[in-house]
Amino acid sequence: MNGQMMFFLIAVFVFAAILGVLMFRGIASSRRRSQTPWQNLIAQLAETDHSALELLAKHTSNRDASSVLDDEQTLPPEEVWRMVGGMKGLELLDHNSKVMIAMAAYVHEWHPVASSEAEELRMIGREIEWHVNRLRAAERAANLESWFGNYAENTAAAYCLMAERLLHFCEAARLPRPMLSELQRAL
């Protein structure tokens, strides 16, 4: 066996190992997600302080609607931190948004005409992920304080919008009452 053949075999082995892991894990995760019953999805939702988040979301929408930004409209960062529950709270919102995307996909499986609503929910979830990723990067750069207020408020607003849209989507898709009630309680 010459050097080039040896190098080729090693390269293929490394490639096949990486690809194999990606593919098998991907297939296993995909199957697990598609076969998760509704109750399991509900159980995956972490508890959040929804009233605090709604208050923050309302404040954000008032601030965005107003053309003049004054001190009264700007919440102090410590207050935003408390209402959201800090970075841990934001991680929970990110986690819940992914569960909500899975729920929308689940409902869409049974009501395929509602694909644009499911897609809208997914895009809001991606927006939440984007905000939280920016804050994770800011935390790593020890710069969280200057970034937290704005991104956290937008995350809370997006989260509340997502929860509201999901409930509306499930109602429109004629999800059975018991399942809808479970979701309302969980959110």
Partner: protein, 255 residues
């Protein structure tokens, strides 16, 4: 042995083709149906050419049809991506860039790995043959693995039948990478015994994939999603109503 594989392949493709039409999967997966149809035509054509034509006729027909087959495989990958990454009828905006990069990276890495391959062959055409097969199998497996990975990352789930087609293709392509690596290693300069044995293994793997597709495309969506019989029957009823409404809308749109 070759005759057995041919017969089994022909029977498998015929059955799969029938399933696609009987279970009405063909309208959702026209390119996959074309791929299966083309495989059927290819089997018949090559069988006749082998019986009545020369070795050269067979060789050039085989490799011309193999190119068509490779193009159709790429088309099937596109079709699955079309199903997964176009929720609401448009390509998801957050996926376009990632998909483009993945496709470009897949072509590049498949090309680099193929350049490293140096199968020992007696004729240049044999080298092209082995490297061509290797490139196609690496590219297909990368594209499918990338699609599965991206669908998880972006929260766009691979839906039932698209998921199963891509799983079958992905796993078969992965096996093909290993087989084509072995083809490259053994080459053709010392006879074709190893090449033939490895080809038989590849055909056997493909027959397993074919059987998987026949079974899974015959089946409907998984029965229980809630673990609750009453809720499942309500959801099934909702789905029947939605499917019926959708077909009425589609008929009106066609008029």
């Amino acid at each position: 042995m070759d005759l057995l594989f041919w017969a089994a392949g022909f029977a498998g493709h015929t059955l799969l083709f029938a399933v696609l039409f009987i279970r009405r999967r063909a309208r959702h997966f026209p390119l996959f149906t074309a791929f299966v149809g083309s495989a059927l035509i290819r089997t018949i054509a090559l069988f006749e050419i082998q019986r009545h034509g020369t070795k050269a006729d067979y060789f050039y027909s085989y490799w011309s049809l193999a190119v068509v087959d490779a193009v159709l495989q790429a088309a099937v990958v596109f079709e699955i991506a079309y199903h997964v990454f176009r929720p609401g009828g448009r390509w998801a905006t957050d996926v376009r860039r990632d998909l483009t990069y993945w496709v470009a990276a897949s072509i590049l890495s498949a090309g680099v790995l193929t350049l490293l391959a140096a199968p020992s062959t007696s004729l240049a055409i044999q080298r092209v043959m082995i490297e061509g097969n290797f490139f196609t199998s690496v590219l297909m497996s990368e594209l499918l693995a990338g699609m599965i990975f991206l669908s998880l990352k972006t929260g766009l789930p691979l839906r039932t039948h698209a998921a199963r087609i891509s799983e079958g293709f992905g796993l078969y392509s992965f096996v093909e990478v290993i087989i084509e690596t072995a083809h490259t290693y053994f080459g053709l300069s010392h006879g074709d015994h190893a090449y033939v044995v490895l080809s038989h293994i590849r055909m056997a793997a493909y027959l397993v994939c074919l059987t998987f597709w026949i079974f899974i495309l015959w089946m409907n969506v998984p029965v229980s999603m809630t673990g609750n019989g009453e809720l499942d029957s309500q959801l099934r009823r909702i789905r029947e109503i939605a499917d019926r409404d959708l077909s009425v809308i589609e008929k009106r749109a066609r008029r």
